[in-house]
Amino acid sequence: MNEFFLSILVFSPLVGILVLALLPKTQESNIKFVGFLATLPALVLSLFAFFQHLGGGNIDQYDVKVNWIHFGDFAEMGLFKIDYELGLNGFSLILIVLTAVLSTLAAIASIHIKKEWKGYFMLFLLLEIGMLGVFAAQNLILFFIFFEITMIPMFFLIGKWGYFEKEKAAYSYLIYNGLGSAILLIVIMVLFARTGTSNIEALAKIMAMEDPATVSPFSDSLKMGLMIALLIAFGVKLPIFPLHTWMLRVHVQAPPSIVMLHSGVLLKIGAFGLIRFGMGIFPEQFESLAVLIVILGVVNLLYGAFLAFLQEDFKMVLAYSSISHMGIVLMGVGALNEAGIQGAIFQVVSHGLISALLFFLVGVFYERFHTSTIANLGGMAKGMPLTAGFLLAGAMASLGLPGMSGFVSEFMAFLGLFEEMPILAAIGCIGIIMTAVYLLRATLGITYGKAHREFAGVTDLKAAEFVPVLVLTALIVLIGVYPSVLSEPLQATLETIMLGLGG
Amino acid sequence: MSSVPVSAYLTLALILFCIGLYGALTKRNTVIVLISVELMLNAVNINLVAFSKYGMIPSITGQVFALFAMAVAAAEAAVGLAILIALYRNRKTVNIDEINSMKN
């Protein structure tokens, strides 16, 4: 059973795709229900694995390795093989749980989808397979395959079910990410060709060796080049300034349920890749780039914050806020100590939950008012107190209110950074203030003040909408109040990383 | 044994090939292009024959292969000219510039 566990977990949405293929495309409610159900197995299994691990269960037991592709006679030496290998560590387990939870909630949020439900949910489930696979993959080539699987459904989901400028957004998504993954592919191929393996752990070991017996030699400058290429490839995904413009379009144009996944999970692949591959495979090069990474992080943080302050559209505010928050991830990662890296990982999870919550709420009021412009929405607390209340709670979490997940992550990232680079960290602190400024400006603009429109007859959160909001808020508060729930599974991963960094 | 060195054969083949290539890529008249292709094929034949005599492992296979090539070339020339005539009937031209239906 154990050797199939991960494969079932990753590919379980496939069942949903098959069932959907057989359904006639006019049965709206059935399609939506099947789409929702299909996300459940992954959720149940990932939660099972998570709690088992929390209870002290061994995490390696689910690792699976099957021969898949091999090239010529080298395979007998164990070289130039591509295996189908899935596995878990603390970090990827957490992200898989995050993916599964957000997928289920996004499936619920998809009740607002208006057309061609069948195609939508098939692509949606394919996207989920891709996301789950990315985190479970144990070698770079498999990772890349899953990485590409996320891209194609995403392109169609944006391009077909988005808003007014959906095609433009979809193309700019495809071009940027296509470039990013092309660079990633080059890195992977160079690594594979030179070492004969693409297994992540094996690569990390080879790179750590003083004089590794690789198929062909590695110079330091080549390693540095590969590290920079990785930074760019994942920098597109994260996104790092100035590679961020595609993400703004996607956030504004894609349907909210998809943005929940995009902002909640897909952006995090960038952070995951930087930590897992950048830090894991090229620790020395990463260290020498640390200052640059932190500077990029501070720029991201401030740039996003100041621009979010100007935006008129709430979705744009959230998009820039995502850029700003990803800056904190970079700062934490660049600190290169336990506090910083743990803070970055916490931020990854926390921002995933918070932005999913906020975008879900955007979907809720967009559905009712067909606008997300702040000026058109003033005084929403009067007619829709629940929506407004949760919006405020989400904003508070996002600006790092203690007791919610945003604080723990921000605090740890800054704690780590202040040990290494106090000046940059102090500059970054301006971002903390600015975050409060732009978030309050936007959310208070929407919820408080005189009512700018007629709210009578508008229903507040419906039952189906209430569930995701409540689940997300509960998770945010849980992590904020009891952060050990995340930090415990992470310890082993962190130790490995710190070992690689020589600290 | 003093004989013509293999490099001479190869040089001849190279010159012949280049002339053929030049003709095939630049001439407007389709008939000339076909003739140029024949030149290139013959350059290959010279190589085959030369290596079958002076190669690292001399073997008759090369000469046999050259014969095959000639036979195929003859067939190809026939087919090529047939297509050319068919084309001429349709288009009233053998000018290669006007045969660009691949473009659209």
Binding site: L310, E338, L440 | V33
Partner: protein
């Protein structure tokens, strides 16, 4: 005492309960809130009395581990914490009771009580914190409680702006606290107060670092306690319902800054510069806010400026090494200022305006509120035998004894101002002839007067726990077992007390001349020195100053960045896209349908590959 952690959970439960079920309960939800805060108060009293007989109790558990570092959460009951527990829970309980009458008829009655519960929880949690991190956590939560309550009337634009301003201004301070706290952590290796004091004592932290962190932490206190120059949010916060002003913006939260400095007192005393900074900021705030208070016409704003000014007093005390004086004044101020706000609320409740120009002659109509307001006014003015007299006296002595002569005289002038503007307020509201508009004026219900009576009694007697005449019980108890906090009572020359008395009586006399008896014209200041008057009336144009500097600068910088975004980043994108498109165009030119062109390029490509292969030997290095 071992179970003191339960105390904050009472109001937390009230908050959660009312949030979930309050809607159906309507106004009965008040009883839930009152019950739980009463429970918290009683338990706090138990803890306080327990603390009299037992040593400090501290319990902790692991909260979060970062590598080898364990961050803990827990609670500590020392003298200061026990005292604060009682003050906070008592005022909170009284405000809960008072609000039952004041908020009567409001649509969101239960939400109001829920927010009050949240705030009380955070405040009680704050005063129980044994380490800086936990303090910071509750510090921010307190801020949110305050934010929510200021913005309670969310449909008013002013309330929205005030709430936003309060949150952002205090957050600026909080960032100072955060930085200071983290820097201290990397010096000491812990957030625990005990460990920090130990490290400071052992000289494990360099003097410069102590000064830096102390001042950074003090910035946090400046934000929260409305000290100059981050004070402007506090008067605006009066947009919230009046009971909130009494609870948060007079008695508890704004005093949290003072509490923080007191709790970290050994750190501050280790740095002369830090102490001096505190004293100077405190004295400036005291005189600055008092001078603004002289001319304001909104009853709540006058009280707000007096709060700012009194908080400045407390800071001055702490900065002059007068630990006991600061904490003592914090306590007495909590009582008499809460009383003043509740009485003001009662006045507003009766006359439905906050403008004192429109009030007058209310003494006869508000038979209970009037005398209670007078008690509060006497106490804050420092009239002998009232609580404010003793605590203010302690502060002046501390400032004098510490050698801050200039600051001492500033404080004396501020005391004069205080007596003047408080009695100006009193005379304008309660004496003179009644205005015609005030027809249906009647006394508030018992639910509202009861808390005022309790506070009125306390405003009179609270001073007697620490007097130079009958003994300094509070002071001795507060510093017991901790030499770093200084002496329980600082001896000072007797003339200070006399000067203080004369000054406050002079202020009252002047106010009586101008507003009571009216032998002096009211417009004395505005006619003699119109510019000074205008300057004071407009609060030294601080808001405008921030408006044209900080706010403008932020906007300008944002716009500047948006141009970068629009031209440079987007330009970069366009350039890249243009290059790609250019390549595409070239490619499509090649694709002209001519087999010969295709052949040519195929051949050239092959040739290039062969050349590369030949040059590199087949490998890219």
């Amino acid at each position: 005492m071992e179970n003191a952690w339960i105390i904050p959970l009472f109001p937390l439960f009230s908050f959660l309960f009312l949030l979930l079920f309050g809607k159906k309960m309507k106004e009965t939800s008040a009883y839930i809130g009152i019950f739980f805060t009463l429970a918290a108060f009683i338990y706090s009293l138990v803890v306080l009395f327990d603390r009299f007989n037992h040593p400090t109790f501290k319990a902790e558990a692991n909260w979060l581990s970062i590598g080898d570092v364990q961050l803990t959460a827990g609670f500590e009951v020392n003298q200061l914490n026990a005292l604060m527990l009682v003050i906070v829970s008592l005022v909170s309980f009284l405000v809960h009771t008072y609000s039952k009458g004041y908020m009567h008829g409001d649509d969101r009655f239960h939400i109001f009580y829920a927010y009050l519960g949240l705030f009380t929880f955070a405040m009680l949690g704050l005063v129980l914190s044994p380490n800086l991190l936990q303090t910071y956590i509750f510090w921010e939560l307190v801020g949110v409680g305050s934010f929510l309550l200021i913005g309670f009337y969310f449909y008013k634009e002013e309330a929205k702006a005030a709430a936003k301003k309060a949150f952002i201004m205090t957050r600026i301070g909080d960032v100072g606290l955060l930085i200071g706290m983290i820097l201290l952590f990397w010096q000491v290796g812990s957030f625990e107060y005990d460990e920090i004091f130990l490290a400071v004592e052992n000289g494990a932290v360099s003097a410069g670092m102590i000064t830096l962190t102390a001042i950074l932490i003090f910035i946090g206190a400046v934000g929260k306690s409305g000290q100059f120059p981050l004070h402007t949010w506090l008067p605006d916060a009066m947009e919230g319902p009046t009971p909130v002003s009494a609870l948060i913006h007079a008695a508890t939260m704004v005093a949290a800054g003072v509490y923080l400095v007191a709790a970290l007192f050994p750190l501050f005393t280790a740095s002369k510069t830090a102490l001096l900074t505190i004293a100077v900021v405190g004295a400036i705030t005291a005189i600055f806010a008092a001078s603004i208070g002289l001319v304001q016409t909104d009853i709540k704003r006058v009280l707000a400026y007096s709060t700012v000014s009194q908080l400045g007093y407390m800071m001055l005390a702490l900065g002059s090494a007068g630990y006991v004086a600061g904490v003592f004044h914090l306590m007495t101020h909590a009582f008499f200022k809460a009383l003043l706000f509740l009485a003001a609320g009662s006045v507003i409740h009766a006359v439905h305006t906050q403008n004192i120009e429109e009030m007058g002659g209310l003494w006869k109509k508000l038979r209970l509120t009037g005398p209670l307001f007078l008690i509060g006014t006497l106490a804050i003015s420092g009239v002998p035998l009232f609580s404010g007299f003793f605590s203010k006296d302690e502060i002046l002595i501390a400032a004098w004894a510490h050698g801050n002569t200039a600051l001492f005289w500033l404080a004396v002038v501020a005391a004069f101002f205080t007596a003047f503007y408080m009695f100006r307020l009193f005379f304008m509201v309660f004496t003179g002839e009644a205005r015609s508009k005030m027809k249906n004026v009647h006394e508030s219900p018992a639910m509202m007067t009861f808390p005022m009576i309790v506070l009125g009694i306390l405003a009179v007697v609270a001073g007697y726990v620490n007097t130079p005449w009958f003994g300094t019980f509070l002071g001795d108890w507060l510093v017991e077992g901790n030499a770093a906090l200084g002496h329980g009572h600082i001896e000072g020359p007797a003339w200070i007390m006399i000067v203080a008395t004369i000054v406050s009586l002079l202020g009252i006399f002047l106010a009586w001349l101008m507003y009571g008896k009216r032998t002096l014209s009211r417009d004395w200041l505005s006619s003699r020195a119109p510019y000074t008057y205008k300057l004071l009336y407009n609060k030294y144009y601080m808001d405008e100053l921030y408006g044209v500097t900080v706010v403008k600068a932020t906007k300008f910088f944002s716009v500047f960045l948006s141009y970068i975004e629009a031209f440079i980043v987007e330009g970069l994108v366009k350039t890249v896209a243009g290059i790609v498109q250019g390549f595409g165009k070239i490619g499509s030119k090649i694709q002209n349908g001519q087999i010969q062109t295709y052949g040519t390029f195929a051949f050239v490509g092959l040739a290039v590959l062969i050349v590369i292969y030949a040059l590199t030997g087949g490998y890219l290095k």
